[in-house]
Structures are given as structure tokens and as C-alpha cells.
Symmetry: C2
Subunit: 173 residues, 2 copies
């Protein structure tokens, strides 16, 4: 209750909750709740597989590969062929409930779905944690550079690899 500054932070929206100690159960519960709300608002069908896939992503503060998600889905009685996972993940990404981490060929739950945001990802190379941070400032800078050469940005991915606070202290060198 006390230390979670994770909820809405309209303008800057940066939280990187994954790097701070927090009540992780809330990540799952609130994540699902936000998704339900978005689905209701936008008339999306958050079916069993899709919901479970999102839940699987929410349970990890790292990016999961499609086949990792697939294994867990299969263990829960869903199909065990690749398209099962890819379709669920594509749905989540398309509707902003999850993000694809290009660098890892993997997926992570969106921490702030529903609002338009230009997320940015911080990937710890030591513990594999992935945090979503607010990329408004970065996006603005990017648009600036693009404008100088006449390029119109539609989508952008910004991914940084490095060390999270915990692993830095642990001397991840």
C-alpha cells in the first residue's frame, strides 16, 4: 500500500515497477483488472486463452518467449501447438495489453494499458528483469530527429540492455 507509486501517472507515466520491491500479487490482479476494463471499453473479446496468456505474462517480470507461454498454456489444458500461443500474444500486442521485446524475441505484459503511451524497455542482462518505463521524452527526441530528415514516425521501439538497480549493487559489473 505504501510504496507503490505505480498507478496512473498521466503525463510522464514512468514507473519501472519491476525494479522496485512491491506486492507482486497485485501485479497480476490489477493487471487483469485493467485488461478487463480495456476490453469492456473497446469491445474486445478477452477469451480464456487470451486471459490466461496475459496472466502468464503478468506473473513474470521478465519477457517470455512464445514457446514458454505455450508450455504453460498447454499445461493448463489449452492447445499445445505454436499458433495457440502466437495468436493469443498477437491479440494482446495488437490491443496494447502486451508488448513485444524485439531484442529477445519475447513478450511482456503492458503495465499501463488503455492509454496511448510510447513505452521504453529496460532489460537487465544479469537477472533478465524487464521494466516498462515512460518513453514520452525519448519519443519526443526521436520525433525531433526524424522531423529533421523528413521521416514520419509511426511506431518505434526503444530497448535498453544494462543492469537493474539490484544487480548493479550486487556487483553485476
Amino acid at each position: 500500500m505504501s510504496d507503490v507509486r505505480e498507478s496512473a501517472d498521466p503525463g510522464q507515466g514512468l514507473t519501472a515497477a519491476a525494479f522496485a520491491p512491491h506486492d507482486h500479487k497485485r501485479c497480476r490482479v490489477e493487471g487483469l483488472a485493467r485488461a478487463e476494463a480495456v476490453a469492456a471499453t473497446e469491445g474486445l473479446r478477452l477469451t480464456a486463452v487470451r486471459r490466461r496468456a496475459l496472466e502468464i505474462l503478468l506473473e513474470a517480470h521478465r519477457a517470455l518467449g512464445a514457446y514458454e507461454v505455450l508450455d504453460r498454456l498447454a499445461a493448463d489444458g489449452f492447445g499445445r501447438q505454436p499458433p495457440v500461443a502466437y495468436r493469443a500474444l498477437d491479440f494482446l500486442v495488437e490491443h496494447g495489453l502486451a508488448h513485444r521485446i524485439q531484442r529477445l524475441n519475447a513478450y511482456t505484459a503492458c503495465m499501463n494499458p488503455g492509454r496511448r503511451h510510447a513505452p521504453l524497455f529496460l532489460i537487465c542482462r544479469a537477472c533478465n528483469a524487464v521494466a516498462e518505463a515512460g518513453g514520452t521524452r525519448v519519443r519526443t527526441a526521436l520525433e525531433g530527429v526524424a522531423a529533421e530528415v523528413g521521416f514520419a514516425v509511426e511506431r518505434a521501439s526503444v530497448e535498453a540492455v544494462g543492469l537493474c538497480p539490484a544487480c548493479r549493487q550486487a556487483g553485476g559489473a
Copy 2:
């Protein structure tokens, strides 16, 4: 350490040369010359396969997949198995003579090798051109966000998809 700024000299990649009309032969010739210089300075062995792989990348202002490069290498009498291309490309990337475009699983020649730089890529979804631009401002913004959550950035990839000037005018919308 977080001092990754590109040298402030003029005429550098900032111009996103790929999007402007230019004498393309010079791209290949000067690109190879720059690579030779870097190799000489740093004691790298720019062998035949590696040089040819770089030349192949320089001839295109788009990103080429490893297997595309492999086809061309094979056509020139080099090996026709994947590791041939991957090893050459890994070498080029590792020494800053080429970059990997995560979003496309592809590679592109570096337009400004030798200097430490934080490149940023503009990818046209209509004509597939890829331009390398100067990412210093973006990188600075990124470092700022990362610092706020205690994350130490080591490497970052910034890739934007959209429309290049030409395709915008052509109504690529």
C-alpha cells in the same frame, strides 16, 4: 561512461543519407575505405568474406537478412552454409562496421564507423529503406529515464518504423 556522444564533426550520419539523393557509388567506395581505415587502426583482419559481406550491405540502403547476404556470398564463390554469413556479420557488428536491425532480423552497414556513436534507425515501411541517424539526443533522454529508476544502460536499440520523405510525398499513407 554514459558519454556516448558522437563527435560533433559535420557531414556525419545525422543527415540520414539514405533518404537524400546522392552519388551512391560513393556509399560503397567510401564505406569500404572507412572500414579499411578502422581495421588498420584497430588491428582487425578484414578478410575477403568479411569485406565482401560489408560491400553487399553497403550496396543496399536497406537491411539485408543473413540469408540474403549468404546467397550473394555463395554466388561469389564463398561458402553457402549459414555460419558463413553469420560469422561475417557478427564480426562486422561486433566491430561497429555494421548494425543489426532487431525489428527486421536483418543487418545494415554502419554509415559512420570508428567513432563511438549511439545510432538510431529509421525504417520506411513502404520502400524498406533504412537510414541511420544520430541518436545522441535520444540516447541522452533514454539515459535520463534510466537514471531515474537506477538502471545503468549499456547498449540500446532505437528503431522507428514509418514513412521516408519520398514515400510520404508519393502518398504512401
